[in-house]
Symmetry: C2
Subunit: 279 residues, 2 copies
């Protein structure tokens, strides 16, 4: 669906998040079943799709801060993203977008709504003053991949086949019926076809690990209510480290706080989502 | 401007965030100079104003998760909030709002845009499983209030007169020219007129402390680009404790992570904002 690449040269992620301009502010997209977790499409994938369309509408290329609210489960197939510019400035521009699909009666249903501010990561300074530290994790080769799944590498969610995810064994107790009780999940992260990370793929990566709720001993569905991601730097090539922490499960809701670190030991994205913990 | 209370019985916060329905989805408001920091109105105050108007439009009363993007500085005087419902569900409803003021040429300028999901905090369960701990702080009487300002209690920003803010001395080095170098700010928090906290006032409280950038040794303006707040429980009466942490200042942007704890030792709100650090 891209104008500049043939499908053969596109990564799975770029192919499946490609948007086609129908008219100003309106982009058509084909949501791919390749990013499903069970029957629903992954919220990070949907955020990347909406973020790509909004980025084509706004004058700046990179999402600096983007929030999505999730209204109903998206399904594989056609969708449309309607974007609106709210303000344009010299260094930042902002706008909203809605991702819609046809409902059972044929009328458009809004699946997610997004509000975001974009800038250009190439124009920010290199100055970094940080007290944040990368997550302590074993090397990749000591972490668990889909190939270590006792049920076989094909047993996991469809989205897992798009990823090169290596879970820290310390946060994998849930997979063998022994959750740690700590709301933590850590992994080395890449795309299965080797595509390097960029700001858009980070929007997917912030929602790509198994729910921390699994390590808290909950096994149900944990639908995202809202997710906000900040992209803080353009990621260097190479594997990412993703850390997710849940501190507070209260009243049936929990937060997931995510940090993503690149191979140059820089904090390239932070996100927080509010999710419902269903029993 | 309220239909149910005379001004004499209203708290300063309720009076200054009152909204008057003009027509469905359109609320008039008078922004008060009482919530200014320098020449601009405080971002938390504006979030509370927009949040009140959006809450009157949506069928659920309490902001569970609300995001605002700040486009230009609001000024005291008339403003209008235009709200739109995106989806209504049994337990949650979502919508957008824009806060507008007349620009120099008389045309409406959008100051902030909000995207939020509301629910009813009275319907959530009491179950809490948390590893979060309240901030370690000295008792209120050992903290610094505006009355301890060497320049006099009237010397601080106008908004300070609306608040009963008691800053942890460990995070007050900036006030005497000796910033700690740590991106931390902590305070006991209340309203000066004794009004107890509620979900709406929490939206203001998440942006009410001095910038953590002051303790990092920066003295310039730190305008908010985006702020997301999660209200996790209805606060108990009594003073709140507010903790703000900045870990990562990079490329001229920094995050402020906020926790608010109530007198019953519950984490009642979490927020994160992305702000620009201007030299």
């Amino acid at each position: 669906m891209s104008d500049t690449c043939t499908e053969a040269t596109l990564s799975e992620f770029d192919r499946d998040t490609a948007v086609r301009l129908r008219e100003p502010g309106v982009h058509d997209v084909h949501l791919s079943a390749g990013w499903a977790i069970g029957h629903a499409l992954n919220g990070g994938y949907l955020l990347a799709v909406a973020g790509r369309a909004l980025g084509e509408t706004l004058p700046h290329p990179d999402p600096f801060t983007i929030t999505a609210h999730y209204f109903s489960a998206s399904t594989p197939g056609p969708a449309v993203v309607r974007s609106e510019t709210a303000r344009t400035g010299r260094t930042l521009s902002s706008g909203s977008a809605g991702l819609f699909q046809a409902g059972p009666d044929g009328r458009e249903v809004e699946r997610i709504r997004v509000l975001a501010t974009y800038g250009d990561l190439d124009t920010v300074t290199d100055d970094v003053r940080t007290s944040a530290r990368p997550p302590a994790m074993p090397p990749r080769e000591q972490c668990f991949s889909a190939h270590d799944n006792p049920a076989g590498p094909e047993a996991g969610p469809e989205m897992g086949k798009r990823l090169d995810l290596r879970l820290d064994p310390a946060t994998c107790g849930w997979a063998v019926g022994a959750p740690s009780g700590r709301g933590e999940m850590r992994a080395w992260f890449g795309l299965a076809d080797g595509r390097d990370a960029d700001p858009l793929s980070l929007l997917m990566a912030v929602d790509a690990l198994p729910p921390t709720a699994f390590e808290l001993g909950l096994s149900g569905w944990v639908p995202t209510v809202e997710l906000t991601a900040h992209v803080r730097a353009r990621p260097a090539p190479g594997p990412l480290r993703v850390s997710v922490i849940t501190a507070n499960l209260a009243g049936g809701f929990l937060e997931e706080d995510v940090e993503i670190w690149d191979s140059a030991d820089r904090l390239v994205a932070q996100s927080r989502q509010l999710a419902r913990a269903k029993a």
